[in-house]
């Protein structure tokens, strides 16, 4: 299954902030179902043209490329709650149980329903 969440993390070499951001973001993504999110780490020192294309100024910046709307979270991502809400992900308060945000979950449910029935795709609004 292709990842539903495509994330890009821009960092600057091996600075303290870069290391922290990678660790923190990975910790957040670990709370999500496997395969839901894909993460690409971009070092602006090695690939500055990508930063130019995405108009990144501050590092670290994590960018939600899809699903829209595109969002950016700037900083070392030390606050897990803020990162999750910033990316539109949620964590169910039950122990270890993870749930996506309601809208996403609903869509997900519809898709599975359609696929299992072999019927045509659910019309998108």
């Amino acid at each position: 299954m292709a990842a539903k969440y495509i994330l890009k993390l821009y960092i600057t070499g091996q600075t303290v902030n870069s290391e922290k951001a990678i660790t923190n973001l990975k910790a957040v993504l670990d709370t999500q179902p496997k395969g839901l999110c894909s993460l690409e780490v971009v070092d602006v020192l090695k690939r500055p043209q990508l930063a130019e294309e995405d108009k990144i100024l501050a590092t670290p910046t994590v960018m939600k490329v899809s699903p829209p709307p595109a969002r950016k979270i700037i900083g070392d991502l030390s606050d897990k709650e803020k990162v999750l809400s910033g990316l539109g992900l949620t964590v169910e308060k039950k122990k270890g149980q993870v749930q996506h945000n309601p809208a996403y979950a609903k869509q997900q449910k519809r898709n599975t329903l359609c696929e299992s029935k072999g019927a045509q795709k659910w019309p998108r609004n």
């Binding site: 902030n17 602006v44 108009k55 100024l57 969002r71 070392d76 030390s78």
Partner: protein
Amino acid sequence: MAKKLSKVASGIPGFDEISHGGIPQGRTTLISGISGSGKTAFSAQFLYEGIVEFGENGVFVTFEESPRDIIRNTESFGWNIDKLIKENKWAFVDASSDDSNSVEVGQYDLGAFIARIAYAVKKVKAKRVAIDSVSVLFTHYQDPGAIRRGLYELIANLKKSNVTCVMTAERLIEDGEISRYGVEEFVSDNVMLLHSRLNAEGERERTVEILKFRGSTHDSQEAPVLVNAEGMAIYPRLRPALRGKVFSQKISTGIKGLDTLLCGGVYENSTTLITGASGSGKTIAALHFIMEGAKRGEKSLLVEFEESPDQLYRNAKSFGWDLEKYVKNGLVKIVCHYPADLKAEQYLKIIQDMVLTNKIKRVALDSISDFQRIYNERKFRAFVIGLNTFMKMSDVTSILTNTTSQILEVTEIAETHLATTTDNIVILKYVELGGRMHRLISVLKQRGSKHEKDLMEFEVTTETGIEILGPFRDVENLMSGSARRIRRIGEEKAERDFIQEAVAGRI
């Protein structure tokens, strides 16, 4: 001995003069100004001229306008930035995105920003960088500490790569703090201000002022800035420099009798003010001067604010002078304008360019008082001083005409500052006497030479133009406006007798 700091010529007309060579090389210079003071235009032109004039490629970092907007806005100057981008001479770092949908979580720095600039500099092998305007960073991000550290690092990096950088900053009000958010503390070595103020007449006036270039000289005065069809131009104020060459050679004014009054004409390199009421013959005197130069093969310039070239040709023709011929063969240049068309600085620049490119030796300006109507006293004075200074330094002999408002009244010249800045003063005057208008000419002063003090009567004839008839004696109080014939002994009695005879009906 300390090595003198070198500068990079900006290529912005006039700026390299006031900055004594341009922007400090390999450094960052802060340009601060309120909104609309020309910061973007200045920084863009610094890059553009760098590429076009000096072959130095540039990177433009834009925060406020998108690259597309900048390209479009500068098209009116005839610039083709698109082409320069394709030729890999100009690169944009587009920092204009709005980060309103971003959140800040924890510590960050400006690593990506710095890396992007470094990348662009490397890509086009840039020698010049413009950042417009850095103040936006402070509004985009909540951690001023991170911005400060980032800017320090950026400036250090640019210095390391020996790139000359201009960085603009927003100012909230004129005459307030140098810049919003105290940006000047990062780039304290070189600071310039762009001013934009309303003057007493309600016109917006833009000027540039260099506050400091550490370790290097510059003009400390504010200089006017104008944006014209080719872009921004700075008009350095010319100060009265008493360093023009002094000539002992006299040249003819073209009016024979006047040359005699002046004891052989005017000194080369001198400025002569011809003052008189409307219709007193000033434009003809200016034409005399120009025609005389042309006949001698000297290049001459006539700056005319009252008549069109065709009118001038016709008038000259009526005196038998073929002015048009001299204009066609390039000996005479004519600039005709409505005085209000351009600003004083622009006229000054036109005259300067004309004189320098055509190696002009004679200039007649008719009439300087047209400016007096438009400009306030300070500006008029600066214009006259600037003009005279330039003429002196470029060895030009000049005639300025001045129209006085009254036809018969006292001659007024002293209050206009014209008297002290000109070398020679010639007065043209109407006098009413015995029910007839007489035209008089007189030399009021001539620096460095004696001159005749006589009042001479003259006529304007179709053969010769101004023709001086002879001294106008036996009349007093001419200059005060109440001319009276001086009566000779016996004259009064003869007059009385005449009246008596007339009354008696014998005549």
